[in-house]
Symmetry: C2
Subunit: 406 residues, 2 copies
C-alpha cells in the first residue's frame, strides 16, 4: 500500500560511481541486502546523520570516516541496524570495513558503513563479508534500480529520483535513491538516502548543500513522529562533468545546481511519505502567516503528528475541529484564534474562530477523499511560512508495527 | 474495551451538593446527557481549564463566572462541545445559563456551563432548556453514579472515586467523577472532572490545591497526544463537615487533605487512561535520574507519545529498541547513553547503551503481556523524576477515531 502511482524514473548514470549488490542472507533468503557504492578518486562526499542520542554503531564510524574526506566506498546492509549493540557492534561494523578495504586495496577509513533494520541485534558481519566479492563483481554504473530495492526494509517499493541540469555549457546529472517507511520524522529517522552527481562541487559548498537540502526535504517529513538511530543522507559529487568547480553558493550556477539537488532530495523524501507504513493519503501541511518561522513549524507538526487528524484523514473525514484543536495546542504564544484561517486545498474551512460560513461538508469531503491534498493554514500574524509532508494513520500502520520488530 | 476490572466504588454523598440528570436528546435518544450540580450557598469552587488557544465558548463563560466566586450551579451537557462556534455558540451557552438562573432564582453568573462532544456544531440550547425542569426535579445528593454515566461521550464506562479522611475530630468526604477517553493529553484534554468535598477549605488554598492536584493527575496522562478545546476540572468544597477551615497548605490537616484529594484526582485520571480509546494496556512511564525535572517529563512523553512503542505494547512485544530510540530523540542535552538504564517493571532491559546482558526476551515478554505494567527509566544524571500514565495504540483506536466525529 502506497500513495500515488509507482513510477520508476529514468535513473541517469553518474560518471564516477558504480554500484554493486549482493544477497548476504540478512533479510529473507533470495533478497538483495548488501549494497556497495564505489566512488572514484577525487570525488567529494558529504552527509548528515541522525540526531538521536542513541546513534547506531555504523553511524559513529561513518562520521569518523567521513571526516577524513577520503571516501571510496559506501557499504550498506539492510535487515539489521546494528544499533544499541555496543562495542561488539562497533567491532562487527569495522570488520566489514576492513574486509572490503582488504579486497579493494584502500584504507579502512575510506569505507563508510550503513545499516538499517532490526535494532539491538548484533550485525552478522560474516554474512556481509562472505558476499563482498559478489558485490564487487557486480559493480556497474547502471545499478541504481537494483540498489533502490536492495536497501529496502518495510518499504513496499523503491524510491528513486534523477535529473539533468545545465551548468554553463555542461550538462550535469543528479541521481539518488532512498529508503524508509515508518519511524519517519525530522532529524533523519530510519531513513537512508544516497544521492550522486557528476558535478564538480567544492567540499565546503557540498557540506553546506547537504545540510540545506536535507533540511528542506528529509527534515520536513513525518509519518509517526519517531526518529531512529541509523539515519543518514549522503551526497557524492564526482566532478566528472567537467564544469567549473562550484564554490560560491550565491553564484547563478551554484543556485541552479542547488535547486536541482533540493528537488531530487524532496522527491526522495516525499516518496518515503507516500510509502509511509499503512499510508493511504499524502498530505502537505502548509503553514504561513507566522510571526516566527518556528511557530509555523510547531503548528505544522502539531497537525502532522496528531493521531486524531491522521485517523480522520484515513477515514476521508474533513474533521476541521480536530485541525483547529491541534493549532490551538501547538503552543503559539498569544494566538488570536479569530485571525486563523484554514483551507483544505483551496476550500476555506475555518475563519473567525470557527467553521467558515461559506463552507459545506461536501466541499471538504471532496478534498480529503483524494489521495493527495493540502492542509493550508494562515496564522494571520506575520510573514513566515513552512511546509511539511505527512501521511494518514490507518489500520495497516498498526498491523505492520504490531507485527514487525524494528 | 478498557483495561482492568470495572469496579464502581462506594460514592460518598457530599453534604451541600445535589445532582440532577435529564435526557435532552443531544446524545442518542434514551441517554442521559444533561447534568446539573446544585451547590449550597457559601461553598467554595475552584477549577482549571484547557490551555488550548481555541477554547470552547462554555470555557470562556466558565472562567468569567468562576471569577465572580458565587457559584451555585454547574450545568453540563454531553454530545455537543459548543467549540469553535463563535458568538452564536457563546449566546447559546449563555441562554442555558439564563434559563437555569431564571428557574432557580439565582444570578446567571452563578451558573457555570460545560460542554463535551462534537466540535463545531452549535449547541442546541433549547434541548437543554427543555429538560432543565426535569433535571431540577431529579436533584439528589445520591446521584453521583447516574451523573458519572450522563457526562460520558466515547467512554465505555463511568469513572468515579471517593474516600473519607480524618481531619482532627472530623471525618470529611471527597467524591468525584470524570469523563474522557481519546484526545487525552496534559493541559486538560477533552476531559471533564467534578470533585466535591464537604471539607471547609479557604478559597485561596482551594485554588492552589485545584492546580496542584490537576497537575499531578490529569496533566500526567496521555492517550494520543491531542489536547482538546473544552476541558475542565472543578472542585467544590461545601464546608459542611464543620472542620476548622483549612488555610495553611503546610498544616498537617491541609497536607492530609491534599494527599486524599490528589489520590481521588489520580484515580479519576488513571481511569481515563484505562478507558483510553482502544486501550488494552495501562502503562506507567516513570523516569528518574534526570538532571532537571523537565528532561524527565520530556523523556516520559517521548516514550508515551511514540506510536511505535504504543503499537509494540499493543502487540505485547517488549521492543526495547523502540524505547531507547524514543529516549534518544527526547532532546536531553548531552545524554550519555551508556548511563541510561531501562526496566520493564523490575526487569532490567537496557544498560551500557544496549540490551542488558542479563535480559532475556521471555522476561520482557512476561511483563508486557500483562494488562498493566511500568516502563522505568533511569537517566543516571541527577535526582529529578516524574511519572506519567498512558495506554497502548490498537486497531480499535483507529476504528473509533475513523468513525466518530469528535
Amino acid at each position: 500500500m502506497a500513495v500515488g502511482p509507482d513510477i520508476w524514473p529514468e535513473m541517469h548514470i553518474i560518471d564516477g560511481v558504480r554500484i554493486g549488490v549482493a544477497q548476504g542472507g540478512i533479510k529473507r533468503a533470495g533478497r538483495d541486502d548488501v549494497t556497495l557504492f564505489e566512488i572514484c578518486e577525487g570525488a567529494r562526499v558529504a552527509g548528515v546523520f541522525t540526531q538521536n542520542a542513541f546513534c547506531a554503531e555504523p553511524v559513529k564510524i561513518a562520521k569518523q570516516h567521513l571526516a577524513k574526506q577520503n571516501v571510496r566506498y559506501l557499504l550498506i546492509n539492510s535487515g539489521n541496524a546494528n544499533a544499541c549493540t555496543g562495542k561488539l557492534g562497533n567491532a562487527a561494523a569495522m570488520k566489514t570495513c576492513n574486509a572490503l578495504a582488504g579486497l579493494t586495496q584502500v584504507d579502512a577509513s575510506s569505507v563508510i558503513p550503513f545499516s538499517t533494520g532490526v535494532i539491538g541485534e548484533l550485525l552478522p558481519a560474516d554474512k556481509i563479508i562472505n558476499v563482498l566479492p559478489q558485490a564487487i563483481e557486480s559493480l556497474d554504473a547502471d545499478n541504481w534500480t537494483r540498489a533502490g530495492r536492495s536497501i529496502m526494509t518495510t518499504d513496499t517499493r523503491p524510491k528513486g529520483a534523477s535529473c539533468e541540469v545545465n551548468l554553463g555549457d555542461k550538462v550535469v546529472k543528479i541521481t539518488g535513491i532512498s529508503k524508509g517507511a515508518g519511524m519517519i520524522n525530522p532529524n533523519m529517522a530510519t531513513m537512508l538516502a544516497y544521492i550522486a552527481t557528476d558535478a564538480d562541487v567544492d567540499q565546503a559548498l557540498l557540506n553546506k548543500l547537504a545540510k540545506r537540502a536535507a533540511n528542506l526535504s528529509f527534515n520536513r517529513i513525518t509519518i509517526d513522529g519517531d526518529t531512529s538511530t541509523n539515519d543518514a543522507c549522503m551526497v557524492i559529487a564526482t566532478g566528472k562533468a567537467g564544469n567549473a568547480t562550484l564554490v560560491d553558493e550565491a553564484s547563478p550556477e551554484a543556485e541552479t545546481f542547488a535547486f536541482a539537488l533540493i528537488d531530487v532530495y524532496q522527491q526522495l523524501a516525499q516518496q518515503i511519505v507516500r510509502d509511509g507504513e499503512g499510508a493511504t493519503k499524502f498530505i502537505s501541511v502548509h503553514v504561513r502567516g507566522g510571526a516566527t518561522h518556528q511557530e509555523c513549524v510547531d503548528v505544522a507538526y502539531a497537525i502532522a503528528h496528531s493521531p486524531l487528524i491522521k485517523t480522520a484523514m484515513f477515514a476521508s473525514d474533513p474533521n476541521w475541529g480536530r485541525i483547529i484543536c491541534a493549532i490551538g495546542y501547538a503552543g503559539v504564544p498569544n494566538l488570536d484564534v479569530d485571525g486563523v484561517k484554514v483551507w483544505l486545498d483551496e476550500t476555506l474551512i475555518v475563519e473567525d474562530g470557527g467553521r467558515a460560513a461559506s463552507y459545506t461538508e461536501e466541499q471538504g469531503q471532496a478534498v480529503v477523499s483524494k489521495a493527495e491534498f493540502a492542509i493550508n493554514v494562515d496564522l494571520g500574524r506575520g510573514d513566515f511560512e513552512d511546509v511539511i509532508w505527512t501521511s494518514d494513520l490507518s489500520h495497516e500502520y498498526i498491523r505492520i508495527n504490531a507485527e514487525y520488530r524494528s
